[in-house]
């Protein structure tokens, strides 16, 4: 793998700026300089099964941008993007780069990461796992990385939720509720109050458990950066979701940032999402 790569974080992960920044810092720490790329301008098109013209346009546009970047490797974050690149996107346009998932890159270079994890993180945590990312067996890779953190007590339970990440379950609400309930049960069974997510959509859909069940949900990236002693950005999405009221959410986001997206848009499109809490 070339030493400078594109870090393709996908679309929806941007709800968690802390994860994007933290992941970039981890890549840098293991000797991989990255050019982050994501958002709608780099959509893989996986959401467009009902509109193949749109799907093809998005896929081709994104591959051509990566081809023009001159980077030999695209490091993925999102399992949907990774899967789509390996299937449909490759059918639309030729790629002149290799693809690796960030868990593979960090795991392969964990000997470089381990000496940097000097800060103890005295917590017992349960790994929140899914079955579906068959292209990359990310759960054990992340578990290995977390075991490098001094003080961290990691529980890898014998339960993995269906789907490749929680957002896949949204279309089947009963399945999502089952997954949420089982994960809360796991924290109780193992005497902890913390779940560790691998993917952004799990972080998005579960972080409200702090309010509903007193369970803190943390992405593995943030545990690793904490152990490195990096002054990581806070998980603002989780803070907003657990703020308790619209007024408190708006106070935490602040009028300046709300003005950037427009007050009306914030109230009609952002607030309703932040109000929604996990159900079980």
């Amino acid at each position: 793998m070339s030493e400078r790569v594109v870090f393709w974080y996908g679309c929806n992960a941007i709800r968690h700026g802390d994860i994007i920044h933290g992941a970039s810092a981890l890549l840098r720490a293991v000797g991989v300089e990255s050019d982050p790329a994501g958002g709608p301008a780099y959509c893989c098109g996986t959401t467009e099964d009902g509109n193949l013209q749109s799907a093809a346009g998005m896929a081709a546009n994104t591959i051509r941008k990566f081809n023009r970047s001159g980077r030999g490797t695209v490091v993925t974050w999102c399992p949907s993007c990774h899967r789509h690149m390996g299937t449909f996107m490759g059918g639309v346009a030729s790629a002149n780069f290799e693809v690796a998932h960030i868990t593979q890159v960090l795991h392969a270079r964990r000997h470089l990461l381990a000496p940097l994890l000097t800060q103890r993180v005295e917590r017992k945590v349960v790994l929140h796992a899914h079955t579906g990312f068959h292209e990359v067996d990310a759960n054990p890779l992340v578990a290995d990385l977390l075991r490098l953190i001094p003080g961290l007590d990691l529980v890898v339970a014998d339960y993995s939720a269906p789907g490749h990440m929680c957002s896949a379950l949204v279309a089947v609400p009963a399945a999502l509720k089952d997954a949420v309930r089982r994960n809360v049960e796991l924290t109780v069974e193992h005497g902890t109050d913390t779940l560790v997510t691998v993917f952004h959509s799990c972080q998005r859909l579960l972080c409200g458990l702090a309010t509903t069940d007193g369970v803190e949900v943390v992405n593995y990236v943030n545990l690793l950066t904490q152990a490195m002693g990096i002054a990581a950005l806070p998980d603002e999405y989780a803070q907003w979701k657990n703020a308790g009221s619209d007024a408190e959410i708006m106070a935490r986001v602040g009028p300046e940032r709300i003005a950037k997206v427009g007050v009306k848009f914030f109230e009609t499109q952002v607030l309703p999402e932040l109000r929604r809490l996990p159900e079980k």
Partner: protein, 142 residues
């Protein structure tokens, strides 16, 4: 039709053809699916029968209600992949079934094709504006 769309349709056609050739309809993929219990229609069905309906959908035909239901319920759990004796990817088969059932390849639609939430990408951009600096927005998102 744009060339990119032609390429995608050709890929889908090739993959459907390969699936139809390789799949023997044994039904093992259905039998291990963790999602069937979330349907009133699927528990207890013979796997081979449901898979035959999926193959029918891939041929551009009506399939069966059970096949359409299984297609709708797939959340990409991937447990079907290691049990396939023919080493096809049943999860990809169901994705192709979904694309076909939505009417995207020109077949009769069997599933409702909900328009994408028009605010989907605008919300993503809004969260980006809330959390990235102007320089990051310029360099990373454009």
């Amino acid at each position: 039709m744009k060339p990119d769309t032609d390429q995608l349709l050709a890929y889908i056609e090739r993959t459907v053809e390969r699936t139809l050739t390789a799949c023997t309809g044994c039904g093992k993929c259905f039998d291990v699916c963790p999602m069937t219990r979330y349907s009133d229609l699927l528990p207890g069905r013979p796997g081979g029968e449901v898979v035959a309906g999926v193959l029918d959908i891939l041929r551009g035909k009506a399939g069966t209600p059970a096949a359409v239901e299984w297609t709708r319920l797939c959340t990409q759990s991937a447990l079907c992949i290691p049990v396939c004796p023919e080493k096809i990817d049943p999860m990809l088969m169901l994705r192709l079934s979904r694309i076909t059932a939505l009417g995207s390849t020109g077949a009769q639609p069997l599933l409702p094709n909900p328009r994408r939430d028009p605010e989907f990408f605008r919300r993503i951009n809004a969260f980006a504006k809330l959390q990235l600096s102007e320089a990051e927005l310029d360099e990373w998102q454009r």
